[in-house]
């Protein structure tokens, strides 16, 4: 995989963007690359919906006793924000967009294992999304994205069933995508591409897919049972007939904790690709990095009870879950050390993708450390269900996940669009996002420690200043997010044409033209060496 080999000139075959360009050809495509763009368009729309809800929430929270919206509306806003951002943006983001586009290319395949299933998964996703949007439009749901019973099953008067149905349907899209990727990685690797020659992005997508396939069905059954309880009036979570509301929490978090690893592992894969390319160096400790990815995926199934330390679950359970939660933090920490060690004695270029990665490193580290705070039993009793938790998961999912997503989009943008984005404004946007993010969410750590609970639309006056800083930060963050929307769209049509490998990266995806032809490679590549095989510096 010598990066100096020029890719063949694609003068004969049109790129996947050319050829048939009717709407029907896009909506009926079996090409993983076009499906990736369908997903890109859809999840961006959902991101905007979720972001608008967040903006309204932050506006309300700028003043301690504002009445910008009623309580019921606010409760519906934070539910909408959680549901849309988790299931309709974060979970599909890297896997369904970058995974779909890059994974077959990265392993030298012509497509995924089940192209028709791939297209079906997008339609299922859209169907679930439409049902959820419908639920929002007809009045929304006020249970929070966590749907705790008995509030959700008995007391809430929102459109719980409809929204749960939307999420249920979207879950099958997740399962289908995960299934597709697992089989693709197992069966369609190019000759010579053994498991331990796989780029870490592929490992990350693979591990994520395993989680998607095994965890999502548990969410499905949980929502189904909650829905049945709501509709039939007889429920297994109803304490009045001896049911246990905590059973819902166990079932819900058994899925939802692994779900957060669905949201971060692909980002970790992206980080490894970018950091090696822009340090011109092999990844430090490849086997440990691959094993860490698998450990995070595996251990991630064993820690769900750390969301329930004060729920009245037993003290012994709490101790066990706390211990396991500490254990799952270790591989994540190792990855951060290894990434920094990768840059050591490299030859570093501060391009926009690397700026996003540096932002990821800072924010994921802080978010991960605060996760350790929350895994610590005595401290979690105080911090649980406060703004500390909100800050923690936003540092990981937004500071980590979204930064990695944007970094990956920028990194592979030349491959996807055949054009370069404008570097100056892109770098500016990355820095703006970083600054805005910290302004928005760092004060929330302090708010949480001081005792401000989650899901509060009004609060005691002593929390005012920190909330104002957070809201102003959100304004900056919004600017930062709008910029890529604008310049990436612009560059898709007017950007400078990119060659096959503008970054000079290793990786099979860079061995074909930008954008690639429909069948990806003129000839199936053959792999003869390890990944990230940059020449010695």
């Amino acid at each position: 995989m010598n990066p100096a080999t020029p890719a063949e000139r694609q003068d004969a075959a049109p790129s996947y963007l050319g050829g048939e360009t009717t709407v029907a050809s896009w909506l009926g495509t079996l090409d993983h690359k076009r499906i990736a763009l369908l997903y890109l368009f859809t999840i961006t729309a959902f991101f905007v919906v979720g972001a608008v809800a967040a903006a309204l929430m932050r506006w309300q929270l700028a003043v301690p006793t504002a009445d910008l919206v009623t309580s019921d509306t606010y409760n519906r806003l934070f539910t909408l924000h959680g549901v849309v951002m988790v299931w309709f943006f974060l979970i599909p983001s890297i896997p369904a967009v970058l995974g779909n586009f890059i994974l077959p290319l990265a392993i030298g395949a012509r497509d995924v294992a089940f192209p028709r299933l791939n297209l079906a998964s997008w339609y299922i996703f859209v169907a679930g999304g439409l049902v959820t949007l419908y639920a929002i439009v007809v009045g929304g749901v006020d249970t929070g994205w966590t749907f705790y019973t008995p509030y959700s099953s008995t007391y809430s008067n929102g459109h719980v069933m409809v929204m749960a149905a939307g999420i249920f349907v979207a879950g099958f899209s997740s399962i289908a995508t995960g299934l597709n990727f697992i089989v693709t990685v197992h069966k369609l690797r190019a000759p010579g591409l053994t498991w331990f020659r796989l780029p870490l992005f592929v490992w990350a997508i693979y591990a994520t897919s395993i989680i998607m396939v095994l965890a999502t069905p548990v969410l499905a059954i949980t929502l189904l049972l909650m829905g049945l309880e709501r509709v039939l009036g007889v429920g297994i979570f109803d304490p009045r007939i001896g049911g246990d509301p905590l059973l819902f929490q166990h079932l819900f978090w058994f899925y939802s904790h692994p779900a957060v690893y669905i949201m971060i592992l692909p980002g970790m894969g992206v980080v490894s690709e970018i950091i090696t390319c822009f340090s011109r160096k092999r990844i430090f400790g490849y086997p440990v990095m691959a094993v860490s990815i698998l450990s995070i995926a595996g251990l991630g199934f064993l820690v769900w009870g750390h969301h329930m330390f004060v729920s009245s679950q037993s003290v012994y359970a709490g101790v066990v879950f706390s211990f396991l939660s500490f254990m799952v933090s270790v591989p994540s920490a190792i990855k951060v050390f290894n990434w920094i060690a990768t840059m050591y004695r490299g030859s570093i270029t501060l391009s926009t993708p690397l700026l996003y990665v540096l932002g990821f490193l800072a924010l994921f580290t802080i978010g991960g450390l605060t996760g350790v705070f929350l895994a610590t039993l005595a401290v979690d009793v105080h911090l649980h269900d406060t703004y500390f938790v909100i800050a923690h998961f936003h540092y990981i999912m937004v500071g980590g996940g979204v930064m990695a997503y944007l970094g990956g989009v920028h990194y592979w943008w030349p491959k996807i669009s055949g054009r370069m984005f404008p570097e100056g404004i892109a770098a500016f946007a990355a820095v703006t996002i970083f600054v805005g993010f910290n302004l928005t969410f760092f004060p929330q750590y302090l708010l949480g420690y001081l005792g401000m609970p989650r899901r509060y639309m009004t609060y005691p006056a002593e929390f005012h200043t920190l909330n104002v800083i957070s809201t102003l930060g959100a304004l900056v963050l919004a600017v930062g997010y709008v910029l890529p929307l604008v310049y990436l769209t612009w560059s898709f049509f007017r950007g400078a044409p990119a060659g096959p490998n503008p970054w000079g990266a290793t990786g099979l995806e860079w061995q074909t033209s930008s954008p690639p032809p429909e069948e990806n490679f003129r000839e199936t590549p053959v792999v003869t060496g390890p990944p990230y095989d940059y020449p010695p510096l």
Partner: protein
């Protein structure tokens, strides 16, 4: 280092440490902050140095490091694991003490319902959204919910406990500073979740005595007296004071005793047992009794049920008087 301590001291200075456990929780938090800040500072400095020194085109040496990779990996894996283990044990230790309720504490019953806290003292006093407690006197708070899950959260005490319908859960604290501290509901519970605030008022012993004398007494006197009224109103004696003793188990001395069920299982008759036996009947078929107790869920309200349980608890040592 001293600036760091001052900073972290300043943070915890903003939030009062008003219970015996609060300083211990804060100590664990400080250790976490110390470890976390050290990591962040070291990694940030390291990264910045690397970015500058090894930028493309710089003259720094790119020769591969001569230390074996596995040694570096092993050292920081081990280091991380050790630090984590220390923090885990520290946190778990304090947690176990937070959860282990000392025996024999005076009790305050708090019922959470949308969207208020119903506070009931052992002597019958009742108030809403306020707890009065005495300085340096540990109390046990017995929590239950009438509807959805709430959470009893007093940041100044570092106390939080979810309040779950169908369950009776307890927490405890020992207030160590006088003052008025906010009580929040920390588990989303519907429309007015953010308005479900209350106060915990910690009074010096003198002030507390004054309050106790002139405090609010709810109609019906003590919880036990109210519970006795409930007992009579629903005719519990019909079965439970059956002269032949065959209809239902006698209730005098029941609380705290060991009950043998029909399938041989033995249970301790604690608060949860009494609650379930009354409201979730016939969950427990007691050995030796043919009849099944009907469920009083929806018939005896949750407040009345708590009073009834208080009455039965008081009858633990003295037999119930047979009422004419």
């Amino acid at each position: 280092m001293s600036r760091f301590l001052a900073f972290s001291g300043a943070i915890s200075g903003w939030l009062p440490t008003a219970s015996s456990m609060a300083p211990r929780v804060d100590r664990v938090l400080r250790d976490l902050l110390a470890a976390g800040s050290a990591v962040v500072v070291v990694l940030t400095v390291l990264t910045l140095v690397i970015l500058v020194r090894y930028r493309r085109g710089s003259a720094a040496s790119r020769a591969p490091s001569r230390i074996a990779t596995w040694k570096i990996e092993a050292s920081w894996i081990t280091g991380t694991a050790i630090v984590f283990l220390y923090l885990f044990f520290e946190g778990a230790g304090v947690y176990v003490d937070m959860e282990r309720i000392p025996p024999g504490l005076p009790e305050i019953t708090v019922v959470g319902r949308q969207w208020m806290w119903d506070v009931r003292y052992a002597d019958g006093r009742r108030e809403f959204n306020t707890l009065h407690v005495r300085l340096n006197t540990p109390v046990r708070v017995v929590l239950s919910s009438e509807d959805v899950i709430h959470s009893f959260f007093v940041p100044a005490f570092r106390v939080k406990q979810d309040v779950v319908p169908g369950k009776i859960v307890s927490t405890w604290f020992n207030p160590t500073r006088t003052g008025t501290y906010t009580l929040f509901c920390a588990q989303y519970c519907g429309t007015a979740h953010a308005q479900m605030l209350g106060s915990v008022v910690v009074l010096s012993p003198g002030d507390y005595a004054t309050w106790a004398r002139g405090g609010l007494l709810s109609a019906g006197g003590t919880a036990e007296a109210r519970g006795h009224a409930v007992y009579r109103r629903f005719g519990c004696a019909e079965c439970h004071e059956d002269p032949q003793g065959r209809r239902a188990p006698p209730l005098g001395g029941l609380y705290g005793s060991l009950v043998t069920l029909a399938d041989g299982e033995q249970l301790r008759a604690d608060d949860q047992y009494l609650h379930d036996a009354i409201l979730l009947s016939p969950r427990y078929r007691v050995s030796g009794y043919a009849l099944t107790m009907p469920s009083y869920d929806g018939i005896i309200g949750p407040s009345d049920a708590l009073d009834l349980i208080a009455y039965l608890k008081a009858s633990a040592t003295a037999p119930l008087a047979v009422q004419p």
